[in-house]
């Protein structure tokens, strides 16, 4: 937990935060509305003797009293997807609509891709990209099992992605940049998550994160929405990256409320200051909703 000590000045109730990071994460699943309703999922899980409890902010997220939701009929049928609760936040903020063309720039293993497709009633086009060929098979397998028809899977470096493979598509309506990051916020499910974490690891990733976000803004139409998210606490990978994008001038931050407790993004970190509007971004801490940690920003493309 030493890697987290540097966040004491910015995280409220820091002791409660550290204590939450040591606790095991509850097992949650997301109801896949492409194939099932919440009621049928609850019925089928309870018929297998598994207790299910709802979560207030999102009716499709369910806590399950089993460590192995993958060994159930609802999983086999693609009615549910094992997904950490807070990782269901970015697609909810993105709010994609049926018929739109949406980019998921760093999509594997596909929990958010499939959630985006479900939010669109599986109508339209979700371009699900990942540069890692090994992880692409997990992305494809999840899309298949969940019955997603609206996804096109690509294997390119998101920084250099184009719309060329899709004749007739001029721009994305929305884009999600769920960026590669130091993953500090996953420490509750992976005790090794903090190995190698720290300010210098974060600064090393920031250039890549900025380049992907910049590309997403370029490929999204004026008036379109770009969501930037990470599962880390590091301001170098969060507010600093969004601040960079704002400085380029083709976007502005929007406020949002998911219904989960969260803290505003910060505007000062060590020797740096960020644009005042960074307070519109949100930080999700483990002790606030009993989840992993997350950061999310919602941007409107203005040019």
């Amino acid at each position: 937990m030493d890697a987290l000590a540097r966040y004491e000045p910015i995280i409220p109730e820091f002791d409660a935060f550290l204590e939450a990071c040591e606790r095991h994460l509850p097992t949650t699943v997301r109801v896949n509305s492409i194939k099932a309703t919440r009621d049928r999922v609850v019925d089928a899980l309870e018929a297998e003797g598994i207790d299910v409890y709802g979560r207030d902010w999102n009716s499709d997220v369910l806590g399950v009293a089993t460590g192995k939701p993958g060994k159930t009929w609802p999983y086999v049928h693609g009615w549910i997807h094992g997904q950490e609760e807070v990782s269901a936040v970015p697609p909810a903020i993105l709010d994609p609509q049926p018929g739109e063309v949406v980019w998921d720039s760093c999509a594997a293993p596909g929990g958010k891709t499939t959630q985006i497709a479900a939010a669109m009633d599986d109508e339209g086009l979700v371009v699900a990209n990942d540069d890692n060929l090994g992880r692409l098979s997990a992305l494809r397998a999840n899309c298949d099992r969940l019955g997603v028809t609206s996804a096109a899977v690509t294997n390119t470096d998101a920084r250099r992605a184009t719309l060329d493979p899709f004749p007739g598509v001029d721009a994305f309506d929305r884009a999600l940049v769920d960026a590669p990051c130091t993953c500090e916020g996953t420490v509750r499910k992976n005790a090794d998550a903090l190995e190698g974490a720290g300010a210098s690891a974060s600064r090393n990733l920031a250039a890549l994160q900025s380049d992907i976000l910049e590309r997403a803004i370029e490929l999204t139409r004026e008036g379109g929405t770009v969501v930037y998210s990470t599962c880390t606490f590091a301001p170098e990978e969060n507010e600093a990256v969004v601040d960079d994008a704002l400085a380029d001038g083709d976007c502005r931050l929007l406020e949002f409320d998911t219904g989960l407790e969260s803290s505003p993004g910060i505007t000062e970190w060590n020797d740096e200051t960020y644009d005042d509007s960074l307070t519109k971004t949100r930080r999700y801490y483990p002790h606030q909703n009993d989840t992993g940690g997350f950061f999310a920003a919602k941007l409107e493309v203005t040019a």
Binding site: R40, W73, L125, T149, A152, V153, F166
Partner: protein
Amino acid sequence: MTDDDSGSSESDDRGDSGIDYFRRNRSGQFDRLPETEGDRMVEGRPSREAVVDWWVDRFAVPEDTFADYTLWEKGKGKVWALPYDLEGPVPVEALGLKLLRTRQEHWKPTTDAVQRFGRAAEQNVVVLEEDRARRFLAGDDQELDWDGDWGYLVVAHELAGGVEPIGVGLYTYGELTSMVPKGRRRDL
């Protein structure tokens, strides 16, 4: 036998030019199916009409099941469905959901398509009791008293107040063979 997309060893013949280029099936991209046999440019490629008719004839799904989808071929005979109108070719890893394998004597639906669209099937559907459903999911073959067609069936079971397709079974000589791909088999 599984419905994994194992790719194809066909050579990439992008070096060709002229109309012959368009008349070949290439493995690295998705091409739109022709509407009818009469519109066909690539030999052996099934038409959209033939694919839709096959689902209707075989499983009695509603005729408008694929009305909002464009249909595509990648590799020899693998047909995919996408709920978006694009011109081809589309050079990507996956485009929509793989529906079936054509270009062979008996066309074979995929597990994913049967799970996604098979709920509306009214013909060639076998509903298994719970213990048989579990054995089917585990990949076991089993004897079956079935007086319907031979060939590929939608195999389903009762779950949470409805009949839910599990996958594809092949019925021959009184036996139901599980076509559930190895990676999807489970011992529940």
